[in-house]
Symmetry: C2
Subunit: 197 residues, 2 copies
């Protein structure tokens, strides 16, 4: 049986973008498969009483320096999005819906959305900007609108978010290897060790 690592993610989290850029390499090295688990970070925060680190201004200022250090370490381009925080409900419903109904489109959609958010500084809360980003991803805007309004898609995202909270998730990114939970892109070395064990 192939080893797996579950990746609970939300496009709105910049540190999740870093995890997104690194996890595929780690999984490949370890012969493991990534199980993509789109969740709604805002829902996780509400359920757990957690808040974004940027709600403490001094922590937010430091985090931007810290993220620049990680970008250099990983050799990954990263540009803070001036529209942060962006409500990701539609984007995460889109990820969930594509995963359910058009799985072949899921990977490209994730790639385009992560890059639009954390490289291209796009305001994905704006309908026109979102439409042009969907076009980049090869996703039809009308089909997408229907997908994110689909009751089963909405319910699936809510259920994944509830499951995450029930399993101990309080933020993003969060990884599971079996029942071992790892929070934060800065714990990817522990994820690697768990996959190798």
């Amino acid at each position: 049986m192939m080893k797996t690592v579950e990746f609970f993610f939300d496009f709105g989290s910049p540190t999740t973008y870093f995890a997104y850029t690194q996890l595929p390499k780690i999984a490949a090295e370890c012969g493991a498969e990534i199980v993509w688990r789109p969740m709604l970070l805002g829902g996780v925060f509400k359920a757990t009483g957690n808040t974004s680190p940027v709600t403490v201004p001094a922590k937010g200022r430091w985090m931007f320096e810290d993220m620049a250090r990680w970008a250099r370490r990983y050799g990954v381009p990263f540009v803070m999005n001036p529209h942060f925080p962006i409500n990701t409900l539609v984007l995460m419903r889109g990820a969930t819906g594509l995963q359910m109904r058009q799985p072949d489109a899921f990977a490209r959609y994730c790639d385009v959305v992560f890059r639009a958010m954390w490289l291209l500084q796009r305001n994905l809360g704006d309908a026109v900007v979102l439409a042009s980003t969907l076009a980049d991803a090869g996703v039809n805007a009308d089909a997408f609108a229907a997908l994110v309004a689909d009751a089963e898609v909405k319910a699936r995202l809510a259920a994944t978010t509830d499951e995450a909270v029930a399993r101990g998730v309080f933020g993003a990114p969060t990884f599971f290897v079996g029942d071992q939970m790892f929070f934060g892109q800065d714990r990817l070395e522990f994820v690697r060790e768990a996959l190798r064990a």
Copy 2:
């Protein structure tokens, strides 16, 4: 001129204990000197609006697993203190006072207090337990009582805490290499890089 790394610490933080066990090796490798900066973490939290991670229960539960992983990685003994959180005002005044008035006693005091807190599960908020811990550190209990009641000592700890906040500190441990700030024992690799640069 010798390179220096400032170490803003409070005995009450378990991740600061990990930093305490690792920083001397890193400093030695880099030919750098540690500048010990005892501060009051509770004061930092109050000033910045930050809170202990354990105020989010799910985060607290994960942190204990995470700390066990770091203890294994570092090969450092660590036992969670059942009396956590312990008010560290007297302990930090003690560190400050010894640094000012009996610098030769400072290192042993820090070592004994960190181990009492994060290995021996001692309730250092209890006067009898504190007295026995001071004895282990070779510090006279009456002299210590006078030291922590000394207005200059109190003022120095408050000033260091204020300085930390003014420079952007929001938690512990925090390190500075020049004006570069690093938060968390999990950023010691970045501290090492900064010292080598």
